[in-house]
Symmetry: C2
DNA sequence: CCCTAATTTTGATTTACTCAAAACACGTGT
DNA sequence: ACACGTGTTTTGAGTAAATCAAAATTAGGG
């Protein structure tokens, strides 16, 4: 009995989400898996490696579809373009380096999903909480001069 | 005794920050005070009302200077342009309406500044934590059809 | 009141992304 | 196995938000 239940293949992921299986979609899915927290441009570069005909707009289209289908999560830290990752479903957060913009995952502070509840929500029905930590990554701590793209606002 | 210590005038704020006092700066400061969570464009519109010669670039320049000086705080919720507010120093957070993008302040969940500490920070030296809640504002709850500018991703 | 550095204006440019029409291909039905 | 329809991708253009740079202007110390 070869179980079909052990981590679905990219094909299955797409099919199960009701999306057609296409080469660009498989390639983007793989690229995001390999390099989490990538932006559209670098995914485009990665995809071009194995599928030279692909257009940047296709990558944007695929990322939109995958995000809508819930196969991929989009984050948008201040001052960065949108980043994509495959780790979904758990509610995890991110640390962003104020100097070089490197991103790492942070497990949810309080365990599962509703890890935060606003004190007073002004009548809003709150569906989600998003947490971004800002700091200096190990590399930039060691190498203080080398700010790659400064101006990220550490909230204050 | 008319105390000089009660909330500094805009002039004083600028001077104390080592910035020259100029009409555009006073106007932007006032406009942000009046309409918190405004973006550059709408501040530009407001400023134009009382100071017709002002350029959009000047508004961007002023906002940059005020932000650097810590007189104004910049936030950038996903899918919105940068927003500015005068409430600073306290570490407060925001709820953003997923439908109309309205923003409200939320007091820090755990009291003062270090209201969150990442469980494992991958060697980052964390300086700040930023929390954004996503939900439906009262108006959009009552008026479900009227999505003003959809596509804000409720994190998932 | 003058002078200099900071600020603002004017004008061009970049980045990240969206829109639309035409060509193409996945996969359902036969 | 094959055609057909719709969803996808390509091609090409366009937009919003913001940044960059040089020239003109102005705040405010001396």
């Amino acid at each position: 009995m070869t179980s079909t239940r052990i981590s679905p293949t990219p094909r299955e992921l797409l099919r199960d989400a009701g999306l057609k299986v296409t080469a660009p979609r498989l390639a983007v899915l793989l690229a995001v898996e390999r390099a989490p927290h990538s932006h559209a441009d670098s995914l485009f570069a990665a995809v071009r490696g194995e599928l030279p005909g692909t257009s940047l707009q296709a990558v944007y289209g695929v990322l939109g579809a995958l995000t809508t289908a819930g196969l991929v999560r989009r984050i948008e830290p201040a001052t960065s373009p949108a980043l994509y990752e495959r780790r979904i479903g758990d509610n995890h957060h991110h640390v962003v380096c104020t100097s070089c913009k490197a991103v790492e995952d942070i497990d949810c502070v309080h365990g599962a999903a509703p890890c935060l509840t606003p004190s007073s929500s002004h009548g809003f029905v709150v569906e989600a909480a998003e947490v971004t930590f800002w700091g200096l990554c190990p590399r930039c701590q060691a190498n203080p001069g080398a700010a790659r793209a400064a101006s990220a606002p550490p909230v204050r």
